[in-house]
Symmetry: C2
Subunit: 310 residues, 2 copies
């Protein structure tokens, strides 16, 4: 495997829609992707069920996903309380978002930057108290990094400062997140450089991209060019913008895998099995549009995955 495609649909996809997917369907979804070769799945978010009813079964799903051999089970946490819950069920990876736009942070999470960083410190201390072999990896995710719908562009200097602050507060690594679908390939390359300069070359491996304005895969290509090795994506682009018909939310897992494998970059994922897993979404959420191109157009004649030849 050259690139880790991290499926975030059960978290970011479902979080973006109002309907609640039954736990049993989520389990089938997770199992099907793992069986197709997906190595990391963000199964949910440890937020109060009163805020996001779709995420109420996250603990149960972490426990379930942990039973699948070889799968890295990730969860999002907005704060230390969420991290505590994630740790209790032994999530392998915890991501805590810090919105680069403080206005967005206050509006959406009701937390200033200082407050979020305080939570990060508490989470880092919780993790330190665990036995060495049981510590989840802990990512600080710079959300709205490519711009904010309230503040507009974020200054590079702010990105650098916040990346440093997250590492100082105890994160293991930094992720960049195009929450708003504002990124372009040049900005992707620039911001990866900004983060690397601020916290070190090896402290950013992943990026979280949306396809709101159609540039998702071009942005992914730019991230690959920089040597990033983890790309978040969502099966069927679940949770697309309601105002943008045809626009997926996150970049579409199956289109991303198609791009990578076509380019000779191995993902370890069986594309036909992955595409078949869309049926689980279609059955469980019949009203939700599924996005993506390759599932409709089919594979090219003579297509073969990376590391194989015909």
């Amino acid at each position: 495997m050259d690139v880790l495609v991290s499926e975030v649909g059960p978290r970011d996809g479902l979080q973006s829609i109002t309907r609640v997917m039954p736990t049993e369907a989520k389990r089938r979804w997770i199992a099907a992707e793992a069986a197709a070769g997906v190595k990391e799945i963000e199964v949910g978010s440890f937020v109060p069920a009163s805020v996001l009813p779709q995420m109420a079964d996250t603990a149960e799903l972490v426990t379930y996903a942990k039973s699948i051999a070889g799968l890295t089970v990730a969860a999002l946490v907005p704060n230390a309380k969420g991290a505590q819950a994630a740790i209790a069920v032994k999530a392998d990876k915890i991501s805590l978002p810090l919105s680069c736009s403080e206005s967005h942070s206050v509006a959406n999470l009701r937390m200033t930057h200082a407050r979020v960083l305080e939570e990060v410190r508490t989470v880092a201390n919780l993790i330190k108290e665990l036995p060495a072999g049981e510590r989840p990896s802990f990512e600080g995710s710079l959300s709205t990094a490519f711009g904010c719908t309230i503040e507009g562009p974020i200054r590079d200097a702010d990105i650098a400062r916040l990346a440093e602050a997250l590492m100082e507060a105890g994160c293991d690594e930094i992720g960049l997140s195009d929450t708003t679908g504002y990124a372009d390939p040049a900005a992707v390359k620039r911001l990866i450089g900004v983060v690397r300069n601020a916290v070190g070359e090896d402290k950013i491996t992943g990026i979280h991209l949306h396809n709101t304005r159609g540039l998702g895969l071009a942005n992914a290509l730019a991230a690959l060019d920089c040597g990033l090795t983890t790309l978040d994506a969502s099966l069927g682009g679940l949770g697309g913008c309601p105002f943008a018909p045809g626009a997926s939310g996150n970049i579409v897992t199956e289109d991303l895998v198609f791009m990578l494998e076509s380019m000779g970059i191995s993902t370890g994922i069986d594309l036909e099995q992955l595409i078949a897993a869309r049926d689980i979404l279609g059955d469980a959420l019949p009203q939700e549009p599924l996005h993506g191109f390759v599932a409709h157009a089919g594979l090219p004649l003579g297509y073969h995955p990376a590391r194989t030849s015909v």
Copy 2:
């Protein structure tokens, strides 16, 4: 202007749908794009009206478009007879496609490679007979270069051989065309290299991409990385695959312009005016779906075109 975005919707977009767009609407479309700053438009194809009734007014459209100052007026021709018609109305640029897959060439154009090359030679001679200032530029377009729905992958050696043959037959330059939507970014880079090695670094400036499998803009980015400066695109991705809901045909002009300008690459095109031109398509072809993301999602807060700052 750093990159020339060549609008091919009036030819490739319309050619892919069954409905005939009234000439008057086509004129408004061409005028609107030119007013938005588009510098090159392929206005039609000189094929018999019995084959493609949508293209019956191509001569009239070339004459009309030639009246717009600063606009390069391009037309596709399948053979010498078409080229004669294009020359008669003083088209600025003539493209003649050679399908790299000979099976495809025979099935779709009823011409072997040898026969197409014979036509190319005749066209080159027609052009040579014109006074120096009146000669259109003449591009040989390698269609199905990234694979064929009948033959599958095309060998690099065949691409090289056909590029050489087109230049020897009298083309001024070679274009690569992903007719089938099979391209990926690695293949784009590889084939540009193959053509450059075969016929010279400066003999390929443009590429014609489709978005059938969602990789269109990533492929465009790969072509930019190689230094190509002309990218074909179609307003609203007109003429999408009928079997792929949401899949545009050619890459979407407005999404491409958004990507380029966001990256700081100037196109000379006013994006809001370009997006407004979609209304002409919507009015004239109400049943045809319009594709693209940025027209729906809107421009990011704080967006500004290349070469301007806020």
